[in-house]
Amino acid sequence: MILLLSNLVVILSAILVFLAVVSILVGVLLFAKKKLTPQGEVTLTINDDKEIVVEPGSTILQPLVTMACFYHRPVVAAVHAECVNAKFLRVAALFWPPRSTSLRAVSKPKTGV
């Protein structure tokens, strides 16, 4: 009986100690997450006419692919930059050639012949 009681005390105190420590750690992590990671939603504006509301924290390419916005290859490479903290981003101004312009038109005109 005494042995059973002492084992019960050990088990109960182990559970209590474990729960207390893990709760403190989870509390610290939640506090840090609230303070360190961006909260809310991010609005992407493409060429002043299309707006996408996305979750922050991923690459800018991800929502564009999800929305099936396909670009020329150089643009995709440029879009790969991270946009973690931006609240408002003008993709048109940063990377995108105007929609009517083809890549050939953007590249340097050939001289000579």
């Binding site: 050990v10 182990a14 100690v17 474990f18 840090a32 360190l36 990671t37 991270e82």
Partner: protein, 205 residues
């Protein structure tokens, strides 16, 4: 003060995590291709060891070791919860690593991207758990000693990974025999560095 310096120097050179115990070899071999990335990982390991070892020291001293709970009630003085050491230490380490990940992602996205999967994998880096377990075994008398031991172990790991990264950067221009290129020559160089570090074992501190 002399005692602290002795613990610090000993944990860097004599009891080096990589060269004396061969702990944390996974990320040591995988992230040691460039000095820049390995410096970042080494600093992250110093930070994690510098926080987890004293945190685990407090948990061990006031919650887990035999008679540690006597501060709660004299009736609990006979309790020995040291069987919880592993799970508690790992829980603390995993939480601190998550914290470090958030801090690095916020303040240095470039380092966050270059460390990639190896940043969350610090949680299962055996050098980190090894630091806490060695601390428990050494039975340090105060938290200062435990902190210095943690930082020293981290600095030792940092030195090792930055050293091997610098050597690997130079090795790119060497004529290494084809079968040894890559990990083979890295293992050999690590062994040679381990032998070199054995010379510190004669130091009496």
């Amino acid at each position: 003060m002399e005692n602290l310096i002795s613990i610090f120097v000993k944990s860097i050179f004599v009891d080096n995590m990589i060269f004396a115990y061969f702990l944390g070899m996974c990320s040591y071999l995988a992230v040691s291709k460039t000095v820049k990335t390995s410096t970042g990982l080494g600093l992250a390991v110093i930070f994690v060891l510098g926080i987890t070892v004293p945190a685990n020291y407090l948990i061990d001293k006031y919650l887990l070791s035999p008679g540690a709970l006597s501060w709660v009630s004299p009736l609990l003085g006979a309790l020995d919860l040291s069987f919880l050491s592993f799970i508690m230490f790992i829980a603390v380490i995993a939480s601190i690593v998550q914290l470090v990940e958030m801090v690095i992602e916020k303040f240095s996205p470039a380092l966050y991207n270059s460390l990639g999967i190896f940043l969350p994998l610090i949680a299962v880096n055996c050098a980190i758990l090894g630091g806490s377990l060695f601390m428990q075994e050494a039975e340090y008398t105060n938290i200062g000693e435990a902190t210095v031991f943690g930082l020293g172990s981290g600095v030792g790991w940092f030195l090792a990974i930055v050293g091997i990264a610098a050597i690997r950067e130079k090795l790119k221009y060497s004529n290494v025999p084809a079968p040894l290129r890559g990990l083979g020559i890295t293992f050999i160089v690590t062994g040679l560095m381990g032998i070199a570090f054995m010379t510190f074992m004669g130091i009496k501190l």
